[in-house]
């Protein structure tokens, strides 16, 4: 999973004309991770400290001169190297104030680029294709430079790579329609020429990017047709003659609106991810420019950020930051690429789509209402980008990063942790929220586990409310809540986690059944669930007038049940205790309802269900029976919209519980009554179903009647054609 974070402007871009090809000559890495050398199109070279957005030094060439190649930092000598007016190589150090007094050497051919790969001697690439080491060149600046390229060949792109001691320089050229790639190896020097395929559509290579690993050079090439190809070259090659076709494999085929990209750039971030600019976002409208991170393994879009203003098809990446000039500024955008898995890779695009189709809760709960409100607020703030919110946000992000908060959680007090987490949550945009929340939650839980006094209930509840936590992300959270007897958090988890294992469900069930009613009285459970149960109990207390004039006694009249419980007085219609009192308190019932509604698989549930004690089982069964009777008695008990268990769920649990404990229940004297009642009630239901089956059978014949018309052997009919 890759993510793009909030970017910031490093410096302005002064492009000479509106149609300038490039905004900057180049952005190159400096000695420290945090520093870059920016060479603009005109006359200046500036070194920036990126995190401070502050220039450290700047050098200008004199009027009339111009920089023709991006300045590079040579780590060997600790000097900057640049070229002015194509032929003058200038070398200077940090403490030189102007160009005037710096070292310069004039060479006798035009220089195309200077490359300084990490920890190696800078390499000078001449416009006509010759390559020299800088040191060797400076020894004799006027040495003759051979012409490698033919007349009309122009260098389009170049780079220099190093692995171990081996240094190579790669550059591509364009000659009319054809494109070539040259690979210059050193010690021994050899130059190898490849032809780049352009395919049927005469697609032009727009941008290349090379990385080296294990002695092989991975070359990514983005064509103007939107196709991204990968070629692999070896660092140490055997010497071959002639021009070979560079073998390539298609990695990505990007959607391109009108068939051709004009300017675009690609940078490889890690093995599977790459950043692109100038390629349209697959689901955004036309005319908007995006910086996108694509995963080549899964061919998915991982992250995208809209860029304002025109883009130049330039993009650099150094130490976890992307540098992209757009509009009138060079923006730095930090990114993060985590190891991708299929699930996360798919997640990104899916999330975008599912936004509109989130299940709508019909009944407003205060908790969610309040929470949604804050979300709405954040969203609104993000959308409008008022100055205030912008400043606040930048302040916050600069104040506290996730890592800092994570560190703080390890030791800080409950209050400060609560405050910090709140801040992080309000300051984080949606895409990152999942990552951040998961890390926060697991850190918090591990603190709670190690430090028994530390238990920020409110914070944990807030995290669960984001809907970004799930059980597998933070497996100890629910168990922790049970341990701390924090029933409201447990309820929240049960509501929000889609992936609770059956073992944990059973543990919850046990804990809830054992919970003291007095403990629960003070718990602040979700009001919906409690009000549902209150309504249910109220119905129960109502007079036993049956609705719809239905009396189940009639059905039972013909039964001669000899095994009726002897403890009860016969004669009265007590065979069915329809006005059974609720065996548990309202709040406990609300919690049990959450259990009933969790997703589960019977076969996985059964072994864990066996762990329940006999008393727990009896109580649970009593409660289930109560619910079942209520539902049966009063259809309106299943109020639509309220979160309540369905009859099917209740029946499932009755079956599972009976399955798991049947032998125990049969032996248990106090369960006897319960089982008898349950049996009777079920039997009466089965009879009802039988009767319904008969009605259905006779009504089904209605359908058959229709078909007989079709089975006639001969008929005369009239059809009309139009």
């Amino acid at each position: 999973m890759a993510a793009l974070f909030e970017g910031f402007t490093l410096c302005g871009v002064v492009s000479g004309s509106a149609r300038a090809e490039a905004a900057l000559l180049g952005v190159e890495a400096e000695r420290e991770e945090d520093r870059v050398v920016v060479t603009d199109c005109g006359r200046s070279v500036t070194v920036y400290k990126v995190s401070d957005q502050k220039p450290l030094g700047s050098w200008h060439v004199r009027q009339g001169q111009s920089l023709t190649c991006p300045a590079v930092w040579s780590s060997r000598s600790g000097e900057y190297v640049a070229v002015t007016d194509s032929r003058v190589i200038r070398i200077w150090k940090d403490d030189d104030t102007t160009f005037e007094k710096t070292f310069k050497a004039t060479v006798c051919a035009d220089v195309a680029r200077i490359h300084a790969a990490a920890d190696s001697e800078p390499v000078v690439l001449f416009a006509r294709g010759a390559v020299r080491m800088l040191d060797a060149l400076l020894e004799a600046p006027q040495q003759p430079i051979e012409e490698v390229l033919s007349e009309e060949e122009v260098i389009r792109w170049s780079c220099s790579l190093v692995e171990g001691k081996q240094l190579v320089t790669i550059f591509t050229t364009e000659q009319k329609e054809d494109c070539y790639l040259y690979l210059q190896r050193f010690n021994p020097n050899s130059l190898h020429k490849y032809k780049l395929e352009t395919g049927e559509s005469r697609a032009r290579p727009l941008s290349l990017c090379a990385t080296v690993r294990n002695q092989s050079i991975k070359l990514l090439c983005l064509y103007s047709s939107g196709c991204l190809y990968q070629s692999v070259l070896s660092m140490r090659g055997t010497i071959q003659d002639g021009v070979q076709l560079l073998p390539r494999t298609l990695l990505l085929r990007l959607p391109v609106e009108d068939g051709h990209l004009s300017s675009a750039s690609v940078v490889s971030l890690d093995e599977g991810n790459l950043a692109m600019v100038g390629v349209p976002h697959p689901s955004a409208s036309a005319g908007k420019e995006f910086l996108c991170i694509w995963n080549t393994n899964f061919q998915t879009l991982q992250a995208a950020k809209e860029l304002t203003g025109r883009i130049y098809g330039q993009l650099w990446s150094y130490s976890g930051r992307l540098y992209v000039p757009h509009g009138k500024a060079l923006t730095v955008i930090p990114y993060e690429c985590e190891r991708s898995s299929l699930a996360t890779a798919l997640g990104r695009l899916q999330q975008d789509r599912s936004d509109g189709s989130k299940p709508v809760t019909t009944v407003v709960s205060w908790n969610t209402l309040l929470h949604e409100d804050t979300i709405q607020h954040q969203k609104g703030a993000r959308g409008v980008e008022t100055r205030q919110s912008k400043s606040r946000k930048s302040q916050m992000t600069s104040l506290l990063t996730v890592d800092q908060v994570l560190e703080k959680i390890k030791s800080a007090s409950e209050d400060s942790v609560t405050r910090d987490v709140e801040m992080i949550l309000s300051g984080t945009a949606d895409p990152e929220l999942q990552l951040v929340v998961g890390r926060l939650a697991s850190q918090l839980v591990s603190r709670c586990q190690s430090d028994s006094a530390f238990y920020p209930h409110h914070t944990l509840a807030q995290l669960v409310h984001t809907r970004c936590v799930c059980h597998s992300l933070c497996p100890n959270l629910l168990m922790l809540a049970l341990e701390k007897k924090d029933y409201s958090l447990a309820q929240l988890c049960l509501q929000h986690f889609p992936d609770i294992p059956e073992a944990v469900t059973c543990a919850c069930l046990k804990a809830f059944l054992d919970a003291e009613e007095s403990d629960l009285q003070t718990e602040n459970l979700e009001p919906d669930s409690v009000s549902f149960m209150e309504g249910m109990v109220a119905v129960c207390k109502r007079d036993g007038a049956l609705e719809n004039g239905f009396s189940p006694v009639l059905l039972e009249e013909d039964s001669c049940d000899v095994n009726a419980p002897t403890t009860r007085a016969k004669g009265k219609a007590d065979w069915l205790v329809l006005d059974m009192p609720c065996p548990v308190g309202v709040k406990k019932a609300a919690l049990l309802n959450e259990i009933l509604q969790t997703a589960h698989t019977d076969s996985f549930l059964l072994p864990h269900l066996k762990d329940l004690t006999a008393q727990q089982v009896v109580l649970f069964l009593q409660y289930l029976q109560f619910l079942y009777l209520k539902y049966y008695q009063d259809i309106s008990a299943q109020a639509p919209g309220l979160r309540s268990p369905t009859v099917t769920q209740i029946m499932d649990w009755v079956c599972s519980t009976l399955d798991a404990h049947f032998t125990v229940l049969v032996m248990l004297p106090e369960a006897r009554d319960l089982l008898f009642q349950l049996h009777k009630f079920v039997r009466s239901q089965v009879r009802l179903i039988c009767e319904l089956g008969k009605i259905q059978g006779s009504l089904q014949d209605l359908h058959k009647l229709k078909q007989t018309e079709d089975a006639d052997l001969y008929s005369i009919e009239v059809i009309e054609l139009f």
Partner: protein, 677 residues
Amino acid sequence: MGEFKVHRVRFFGYMPSGIRCMSFNERAERLALGRLDGTLEIFNFKDSFYQEKVIPGNDSRSVEAVCWVAERLFTAGLNGEITEYDLENLCPKYSLDAFGGPIWTVACNAQGTHLAVGCEDGSIKLFEILPEKIRFERNLDRQKGRVLSLSWHESGTRIAAGMLDMIRIFDVQSGHATHRMLVDRGVSGMRNHECVVWCVAFLSDLTVISTDSSGKVQVWNAAMGILSSTHLVSKSDVLSLAVSKDESSFVVGTSEGTVVQFQFLANILGGDEKAWVRTKTFKPHTHDVRALAEIGTAVVSGGLDTQLVVRPLLDKVDIMSYDNVLHKIHFPHRSLVSCAQKAGMLLFQFPAQLEVWRLGESEGRGEFCLGTREKWIPFQGEDHISCSAISPCGGWLAYSTVSSLRVYRLQCDEHVSISKVPKLPKVLRSAHQLSFSDDSSKLFAASTHSMVHVISLSQSECKHLHTFKPKSGSTEPVHLLAASKDGKWLAAANRGCEIHIYNLHKLKPHCTVPIYGSCPTAMGIHPTSNNLLMVHADRQIFEYSIVEKQYTDWSRRVQREGLHKLWLERDTPVTHVTFNPRNAAQFMLHDTYMFCIIDQSLPLPDNKCQFYNQITLKSLSEQERLSHAHAFKMCTKYQHLLFLGLLDDESLVVVQRPLTDIASQLPAPVRLKKFAT
């Protein structure tokens, strides 16, 4: 457009026979199919799977195995005879008794020089294939137990034979068995039942694949005579086996109606070590899959449920097109029904009987009225009927088998009486197609060598008037005849795609329609303009003016603008053409799943417009309809159509045979455990 009174007939109890065996000819891309009643059918896979030729069966001849040798077709059956067929005259050429009891299997070597047959008495007999006949050469060592399946190694030096409980490998040179591989009898309950090796296949790398009655597919190493692997694919028999040409996959068919594909795949991706792996399972049939062929991009299967299924293997298909979608062929691609338009009578052709029915007279919408049924079994002899016809007036009836042709006189009043016409002209020995002229005064009989005999019929005698021979010298059988209403023209189409037009007044050939690459499947001559309308197997429609000897403007327009994609993608060929007497610009076509009226005066539908537009048109007003109407008026109300004709009172006759009726007459399938039964 108008209303039609429709006689909807579903009392034609046509019952196709189950498929017993098949053989695919790679070079000609033709599939030969043997049915249980001995009928042989040849399908042209190049030409939209058109059923090109049908050789009617015979009660005494069964087809147990069929085998192509280059362009020659051999069958062998339980009557102990090997038969070669004359594919031009659609009859057996000769039969040769192998003297080994019933023959279960026949196989030809890759060189095409020898035929091996497996007999009931346990012998494998080799026959040498000579240009005009076959000659017995020798027996391989005789074994105990019947030989049920045979397969040659491609070198032609070894034969694998599937027997009871074992597979033997024979050396052809010496005639001795070199290996004996015992097949396990399977689950314990079946121990005392013999295990029948239904099929064997000998691959070029000396691998033998066998399928047997205990549900196993086994792969053997014939070089060592050992078992390499066993795959249990079914609880009942595995009856058929077909190997792809490149030997990288094979398919087996079980008696549960499933077809299972095995592929020779590397154990590890990119690895060298390969093994046979069960890959796909289809269930194209409800009953035994008795015959299979793997043809490049598709699996062809047939079985007791009588349908032929061509299922594409999508991993081998590059571009989806008409040729590689699922095809199911239920009904013959020729008409088994003929209609006496003037008398309102229908003649139904069964393999060994004919039925004449008279349609009801009742007016009134949808009233039930069963036609009076005149059933009649005129039949002696063992040969099955190849073609039949009833005259438009209902007074004459003719049918032909491979060996004889008979004409009857029908008298229809209260009761129908029938009398055979004696003393037919000598030339009338057999016919591939029969047709009466519109005034019922002439009978046209398409005979051998593409000849068409013209017979005049009268109360007193039948006289041979003339015999037309095609100028091209083609000897392909004629399968369509069409006479014009005015009695002047006769068109005859043969399987070589040629259509000849003869002038009946001058008794001379008139012209030949330019040959189109696809076989004509239906044709008719327009009653007023005398234009010949032809529909081909690839569903192209042509109209040819006989008088002007050129394609009509409408035909050229159709070719220029092209037919609608949905029309070209229809699955079954058009089998009948009739003309609407009410409107000279309209004619009717039908295939198995629709009939349509084509109005030549309306614009042709282009690919963008809605093709099946009847429901849309119905909802529009009179004026709007005009702007939306196009030439093809499709009606899909009647499915499984065997015939659609127009009576003289301008009412339509529709003969349907619902597939459910056929399925209900099939024997019960192998019982399978289904959920909750």
